[in-house]
């Protein structure tokens, strides 16, 4: 999953749908929509940390691979 794909998922789908049907309103205002920026900030950090860990894990696997396999790859 690329950075951009991650961003598209979390930004333009999740933030507008997670609160549907839960009745999270006050004075007519959808509170889930108000939380969008804060939620994006948290989601971005979580997804980017996840990606970074995946990259490190992948690097570990390659480092442990026999030289021949690396060359072939």
């Amino acid at each position: 999953m690329t950075d951009k794909a991650v961003a598209e998922v979390i930004t333009w789908r999740l933030s507008h749908s997670w609160y549907d049907g839960l009745g999270l309103e006050y004075s007519g205002v959808a509170l889930g929509d108000c939380m969008e920026y804060n939620l994006l900030t948290v989601l971005n950090r979580l997804m980017l940390q996840y990606q970074a860990q995946a990259v490190l894990k992948d690097a570990d696997v390659k480092a442990e691979a026999p030289q021949g396999e690396l060359t072939n790859a």
């Binding site: 951009k4 999270l24 205002v29 509170l31 108000c34 804060n38 979580l46 990606q51």
Partner: protein, 422 residues
């Protein structure tokens, strides 16, 4: 018979709209989201108060009770929410979004909903007090408090106005949080800004191209002349001056890798200063939340034997002292520099750019060529064309007057429509 109370205009606060406060206060009482902004406006003798001043002890208790009940709805739907978040990521991704969401999300939601409810309850209280709210101005409405205020007004047919805080660097069609405004009207700085908002689906009839109010100071403000700026910043006589406009990785950015990119950019600019024997000013971004001590700029200059300084403040001085600006990314500073006659170039970055030929672009390996081109372009008419694309008030510098007149006229139109309906 006592005078009827004046109508109220809601304002987010912040430097973007500050120049509008006094002219708007001729028509309205000002109610600010930001307490500090209300204090600053009141300190100028303007009729201003924080929105939160409408909250008394009873309302405060009501806010707490309502927020607890709302948070209970989140907690009671934890399984559903877990499925929504996990399903969206196809049940992969970080555990905190995929299986462990109930462990943190209800508390997170409680905290944020409480903040939103506090604002909404205060607006309800103002409405109950029979004070007429006639309009709402925000410099952004992606953050929680401004979005809540705009949504509350939109539901009641109160005109809402977005006066953008970041007029630069957004190309038409780019998906970016800066395009996510819920305000009814948008005061675009220039044609490029208007095109960006329209490309994001905003009704062209609701987008006015007026200029950037917070830049009026670069036309009429107390900006130092180059000699004074160099004297204050202790630039040795005869040295060329490069001003590096630093940036910061925003937490809503669409990608990672900013830190490495910025380090490479800075190292390239430092090398240019070293090779040219230039004085180097590292200008920190004003809203970069990291402490000054955490930045390597001055230490790196000392190690490289480059004369220079680092500052978060004194913006007018840093620009006026410079022969050329080198921005780490597309930056409002390039426009401010152009207004003040200082050419610029910048290091390109994915997802952000100008819609114009200028400023000159470079990557770490080619930024020296961009600096040379910028230095040779000083006073070229093309810089005026660049500014005009982003600030329709150029060269008069009267954006505040234009924006104020537009807001007042739209509010008047809205009031007339209300009278006609009633």
């Amino acid at each position: 018979m006592p005078d009827a109370p004046r109508p109220i205009l809601l304002i987010s606060g912040g430097h973007t709209t500050q120049i509008l406060w006094a002219p708007l206060a001729e028509h309205y009482d000002l109610a600010f989201l930001a307490v500090q902004a209300a204090q600053a406006a009141a300190g100028q003798g303007l009729p201003a108060a924080p929105i939160s001043s409408a909250v008394d002890a009873d309302i405060s208790e009501h806010i707490q009770n309502e927020t607890v009940m709302l948070a209970a709805k989140v907690a009671n739907n934890a399984a559903l929410l877990s499925e929504r978040f996990g399903g969206l990521l196809e049940h992969s991704g970080p555990e905190l979004l995929n299986g462990k969401l109930p462990g943190w999300f209800p508390g997170f939601a409680h905290h944020l909903m409480g903040a939103a409810v506090s604002i909404l309850a205060a607006l309800d209280a103002i409405e109950r007090a029979k004070r007429q709210i006639v309009g709402c101005i925000v410099h952004e409405d992606v953050s929680l408090d401004t979005r809540a205020m705009v949504a509350w007004c939109n539901l009641r047919g109160i005109p809402t106005f977005h006066v953008p805080h970041a007029p630069c660097h957004l190309l038409p069609g780019v998906i970016d949080i800066h395009g996510e405004t819920r305000a009814q009207y948008i005061a675009a700085g220039g044609p490029a800004g208007a095109e960006f908002y329209i490309s994001r689906g905003h009704d062209p009839a609701m987008v006015a191209t007026l200029g950037v109010p917070q830049w009026d100071e670069f036309y009429h403000g107390a900006i130092p002349d180059p000699l004074e700026a160099r004297r204050v910043l202790k630039v040795p006589d005869g040295l060329p001056v490069i001003c590096y406009i630093a940036s910061w990785a925003q937490t809503t950015s669409m990608r990672s890798g900013f830190e490495d990119e910025f380090t490479e950019g800075w190292k390239a600019v430092l090398a240019q200063a070293q090779a040219r024997g230039a004085f180097l000013i590292a200008k920190l971004h004003p809203t970069d939340g990291r402490p000054d001590e955490s930045h390597p700029y001055k230490t790196d200059m000392d190690t490289a034997g480059v004369a220079g300084c680092m500052t978060r403040h004194h913006f007018g001085y840093t620009i006026r002292a410079a022969d050329v600006l080198v921005a780490q990314t597309p930056s409002n500073a390039c426009l401010n520099g152009a207004i003040l006659g200082v050419p610029s170039c910048y290091l390109t970055t994915e997802g952000f750019d100008y819609a114009t030929v200028l400023p000159y672009r470079g990557v770490p390996e080619t930024i020296g060529e961009a600096i040379d081109k910028a230095l040779a372009s000083r006073d070229a008419p093309a810089w005026d064309e660049f500014i005009a694309q982003y600030n329709a008030a150029h060269p008069d510098g009267n954006a505040a007057e234009r924006v104020t007149d537009w807001i007042v006229s739209k509010i008047t139109e809205s009031e007339r429509a209300d009278v006609a309906i009633n």
